[in-house]
């Protein structure tokens, strides 16, 4: 008796389908929670503006949630290929997987790029601040309190 006969192909199909639903739901939940967190944080940030562009960081965090959710959804797609569907389902599955893989790739690139830009923004915001504080410091030091000559 083969394993497929013992276990039953339909049972295997049912088990895989349940697993697919669970993994897919986990991915969707992550994306939904990420969007809700981004929405709440956006409202908090929008009504008390900070100096540094806070929206870039917010988009970055939402992007990270999307990537994580996509990883789960891609795992569900891979699981789905374990049960042989008909040609239409297979074509739809291939399209979904292609969309998700491409988006995952581009989001990854975008997160890298956005992280660089956020750091550049931070550096740009810090540079004028040190420039603005430097002249009074030297000015205050000049009338008598400056470093003594050796």
């Amino acid at each position: 008796m083969t394993l497929a006969e013992g276990f039953g192909e339909h049972n295997l199909e049912d088990v895989v389908n349940v697993l697919v639903q669970v993994v897919e739901a986990a991915g969707a939940l992550i994306i939904f929670v990420g969007a809700v967190i981004a929405f709440v944080r956006f409202l908090l940030v929008a009504f008390r503006r900070e100096g540094l562009d806070p929206f870039a960081r917010l988009r970055l965090d939402l992007g990270r949630f999307l990537v994580l959710g996509l990883e789960f959804q891609l795992a569900a797609d891979i699981l789905r290929t374990a049960v042989a569907p008909n040609f239409t389902e297979l074509a739809q599955l291939a399209t979904v997987a292609a969309i998700r893989t491409a988006l995952n790739f581009f989001l990854g690139l975008e997160i890298k790029e956005e992280t660089k830009l956020v750091q550049a923004d931070k550096a740009a915001a810090a540079t004028p601040a040190t420039g603005a504080t430097a002249p009074p410091a030297t000015g205050a030091a000049s009338p008598g309190t400056g470093p003594k000559p050796p």
Partner: protein, 85 residues
């Protein structure tokens, strides 16, 4: 079951995206930023929509949303990077 829930969630995220974009536009007067936020939320909605068993129109809409998002996002990132040079 999952299709109904994920489609409802997609609708909620779409509405959240519209609110976020409107508030961002009103507060910052920066249309590109509002557009970027709107497209981010629409992408999340498209992914939630894809969690349901797919149909060809849903797949087309999701693919189109993601392509538009990528193009707009690429243009916005390039513009920001150019400002830093």
């Amino acid at each position: 079951m999952i299709s109904t829930v994920s489609r409802d969630a997609a609708l909620i995220v779409t509405a959240a995206g519209l609110i976020v974009a409107a508030v961002a536009l009103a507060r910052t007067r920066r249309a590109p930023l509002a557009l970027a936020l709107l497209l981010d939320f629409f992408t999340a909605a498209a992914l939630l929509y894809l969690a349901a068993p797919p149909t060809w129109p849903a797949l087309g809409a999701a693919a189109l949303t993601i392509v538009i998002r990528q193009l707009a996002s690429h243009a916005l990132t390039a513009a920001r990077a150019a400002r830093h040079r």
